[in-house]
Amino acid sequence: MSAVVGQGAPIEDPAKVKVETPFRRFCSEFAESKLALGGLIVISIIIVVAILAPFISPQDPYDLAVLDIMDGRLEPGAQSGDGAITYWLGTDDQGRDMLSGIMYGLRISLTVGAGSAFIACMVGASLGLAAAYAGGKTDSIIMRIVDLQLSFPSILVALMILAFLGKSVTNVVIAIVVVEWAYYARTVRGTALVERRREYIEAAECLALPRYRILFRHLLPNCLPPLIVIGTMQVARAIALEATLSFLGLGVPITEPSLGLLIANGYEYMLSGKYWISFYPGIALLVTIVAINLVGDQLRDVLNPRLQK
């Protein structure tokens, strides 16, 4: 799941001989923007923290045995009642260490965000490919649905899905997939329409290869660059949408709080000046989204054939 986020993760391998391969050129062009490189490093750190959360967090925020309600709503930097741990980012109303809560929340936010963006990508790319390859009726039906759906704002579509299906993590994933597949479908179709007139597709057709093979082995790989760019951006959007839905109380259940739900939990205390319960999860969310966007922006510049030097 995090593979989608970590797309360009291996930056360079100096041990190998310096040969100008496409991948190497891609890496060096990507690294030209220090901002994007910084974003990539931040994302990598966030992913590592999320994966290792059970091992590196100061506290297991869902083990009720370690929580002490007496430690509720402590300020950042306060010591726990028994002096065992310092709450660097304060505690929430249950006496839960915010830092640990954020680490676990990141896990859920990233999994739901990247996972649903990935599923949306599969669905959207397949339909987009099918539309471009089949043409005619199939194409116009699929693209009509895409047009119709893109004319409605994401939040409305997501609300609709959740109103139909009820609240649960699975339904949030379904909602995000339904919201996002159309972007992938449109992007892939656009590229595939150009690619399918190329000679190599004609050659593959002359070899009488099965249709799925032409679609997924010949056409799809050549549509990947724009798909990667859209994919990166959509992961950020998925994380933001999940956070929004959870904040509204329509997303993940209270037992598996994502960043959005953590923020919602602290919201009522914000007015009384206890800002940290909402503020720090918010910062974590912000950093994640901005970092992914920075990487996506640079990917777009690097992968855009029109801008290639």
């Binding site: 704002p153 609300l159 609709m160 959740l162 956070a243 929004t244 904040f247 959005g260 912000l286």
Partner: protein, 323 residues
């Protein structure tokens, strides 16, 4: 023109019909309405009588036709929670939402146009780069997060603006409006800014792109060569031509402003229909959910239609017969 108008109207009606089917099937067929509509203590006889009374024993398509027939007459059922007609409930809260959405749209134009103009005229200055970076943030930050930060800074830390509610209102034509009193305005400022943020970024980018494109046009060069003042060139010759796309997009965005007000209203406890729908989803108040979805979809399609038609009137290059 009239053929085009007719065709667009039929198209729009088709979409409304399709959406009504989706909403009906989604809300009434996926869940079990019997569970919610009939009290669990009812015995078998009572249950069957209630099912028959509600028409739940009919085939789905018949149920849909009944639903559609009532919907056309403005009857979308009664709210389980408020025990009032769902449509009335939504309409009562609509002015608050519309007020917020209009305030956000005007705010976006008032803030976005000058900034975009500046960024387009001086693309390499530091301030322009700052404006563009800010607009990227405006695009990517979740609305609710920005809303929380606004509350934290302006309501809690500085204490300048109230954080929730509509404040003092004035009643005009039977509806209450906040923007006519000072207290109401201070209540409106933060939610409107919050809701406007995305649109400000959008207007900035559109204006900047428009200005940069138009500045290279021959007629601008000619105006300059004629010796017109830069002020006149910018505000008469360039400005007029960038306004069309800005107005169109802002108009099209109005529908999504209403949809996104769901988030803003929840944060600032703004008593509009967005807050109502969230509460209704939480308690599964189906008639209200249906009424909200149908009204917003209808609004959306109307806005799209009007903008489409206006566009073809404003811009003669849009060939009507080619569609």
């Amino acid at each position: 023109m009239s053929v085009y108008l007719l065709r667009r109207l039929i198209q729009a009606a088709g979409v409304v019909l399709a959406m009504s089917i989706i909403v009906f099937v989604g809300v009434f067929a996926i869940g079990d309405p019997v569970e919610i509509l009939i009290s669990p203590d009812a015995d078998q006889m009572e249950r069957e009588r209630a099912i028959a009374a509600l028409g739940l024993d009919l085939p789905l398509w018949q149920q849909y036709l009944i639903f559609l027939g009532k919907a056309v007459q403005g009857d979308l059922g009664r709210s389980f929670v408020f025990n009032e007609p769902a449509l009335e409930l939504i309409l009562q809260r609509m002015p608050a939402t519309l007020e917020l959405a209009f305030a956000a749209t005007f705010g976006a134009i008032l803030i976005g146009l000058p900034l975009g103009l500046y960024a387009g005229l001086k693309p390499n200055s530091l301030a322009s780069k700052g404006i563009m970076a800010g607009s990227i943030l405006g695009f990517s930050l979740p609305t609710f997060w920005v809303g929380l930060m606004l509350i934290m800074v302006f309501a809690v830390q500085l204490g300048w603006l109230p954080s929730t509610g509509r404040g003092e209102t004035v009643e005009i034509l039977g509806t209450r409006w906040s923007f006519l009193t000072w207290d109401g305005l201070t209540h409106l400022a933060m939610p409107a800014l919050n809701l406007a943020l995305f649109k400000i970024s959008l207007v900035i980018r559109l204006t900047r792109a428009g200005v940069r494109e138009t500045m290279l046009m021959d007629y601008v060069k000619f105006a300059r060569a004629k010796g017109l003042s830069p002020f006149r060139v910018t505000f008469v010759h360039v400005f007029k031509n960038i306004l069309i796309p800005v107005v169109t997009v802002t108009g099209l965005e109005f529908g999504s402003t209403i949809a996104f007000s769901v988030v803003t209203e929840s944060i600032f406890a703004w008593p509009g229909m967005g807050k109502l729908i969230i509460d209704s989803i939480n308690v599964l108040d189906r008639p209200v959910i249906v009424a909200y979805l149908m009204i917003v979809v209808l609004m959306f399609i109307t806005i799209n239609l009007v903008v489409d038609l206006m566009y073809s009137v404003l811009d003669p290059r849009v060939r009507l017969d080619s569609k």
